[in-house]
Assembly symmetry: C2
Homo-oligomer: 218 residues x 2
């Protein structure tokens, strides 16, 4: 994995940018504008920064680490033409505030997901849902969790999935940890896991988000 365009400047973007830079990958991190103050948090890393469009133009593999609430608008700001033929790894989850407080609520249903909506909105782009079922520290370095815990892939294009597997391998994921669930419609299944992810995080308490799902079988 030589070059990655990374969309998003939150904790997920920051964690992945730091890890990719450490691994020698040539990264451009994109924000709403190349002058966005959110990009200051990347000044100490060996990455370049720019607009969302700058990040997307940098590589054939684009990582969507924006909030799922904004992801469609972010890709629209880049434009379908600029994204045509590229692979977008979609890490996002869409959460909305719960009435009366408490943990936010995932909007995904069996019929609807951010991943599927992005694929439908950008038919000439290869959207692959992945890495959205874990904390970003685990995404970036799976060796922090023991055993054969898993990362799911959902997407319609086999070649795009291979490019995502290459990114995953760069982070340290082993092939036997990568579970291909099928087409992009299966992004619903993993986005719906956000509810149980939050429930387990609360139940675990201390150092809570540093876990991942495994599929144990005989």
């Amino acid at each position: 994995m030589e070059r990655v365009g990374l969309l998003g400047t939150g904790i997920v973007g920051r964690t992945l940018a730091a890890r990719l830079a450490e691994l020698g990958v040539d990264v451009v991190v994109g924000a709403r504008s190349a002058e966005s103050s959110s990009l200051e948090a990347f000044a100490d890393l060996d990455v370049r920064t720019g607009s969302f469009a700058d990040a997307a133009a940098h590589a054939d593999l684009v990582v969507n680490a924006t909030n799922g609430v904004n992801s469609t608008a972010v890709l629209e700001s880049i434009g379908a033409e600029a994204l045509a033929g590229k692979t977008v790894v979609d890490l996002s989850n869409e959460l909305v505030p719960r009435e009366g407080g408490g943990f936010p609520v995932p909007t995904a249903t069996a019929e609807s997901s951010v991943g599927r909506r992005l694929q439908e909105a950008f038919p000439e782009t290869y959207v692959v849902k992945s890495l959205n079922t874990m904390n970003c520290a685990v995404m970036a370095d799976p060796s922090i969790v023991p055993g054969d815990h898993v990362v799911f892939l959902s997407g319609d294009d086999a070649g795009a999935k291979d490019r995502v597997r290459e990114l995953l391998a760069t982070f340290g994921w082993r092939p036997e940890q990568m579970v291909d669930l099928g087409g992009i419609e299966t992004a619903s299944a993993t986005e719906m896991m956000m509810s149980v992810w939050m429930a387990v995080t609360i139940a675990r308490g201390h150092d809570a988000p540093r876990f991942n799902w495994a599929v144990n079988a005989p």
Copy 2:
């Protein structure tokens, strides 16, 4: 665990009845009527059979192994008075057919679940959601899957959860495999896992449902 009332005569009911009988538990399996033809499938087991009400009357611990689509009606047929003070372990998932075919769709959302609806409909009964995130062969004998795979518990009453832990231990679940997620509202989280459960089952292919989730952590 001495006595269990078991509601439901499908594959889940049959599997659990066989296992409980083998373990020496005194079981009454309930169906819509004591003369229901579905009870013939239990004739070779060391259990008694009867109506749903007969099964509920038999024990303080009642296992709901009916289809989630019917569970409210089944409990209503028994009646709130007969169920008052009892613990109902709710194993159900509610799935509806998908338009145009394909795997059915779970109806659970972050705000709605079968477990929570049952608790709201029967406030004097202790509903504990559990075992609904795996195939019934794994429910009944967790030793068929290696490692520290997990069973979740959601419910509002600590004493009722202890009775369910006792049932789980009877099946062979170890305490460290039991993950208490909190109140009955967290049943949403595990019922929403049915989508990813089905996706993983399809992806696994051969001997597909014989797996379970683990929560790997440092």
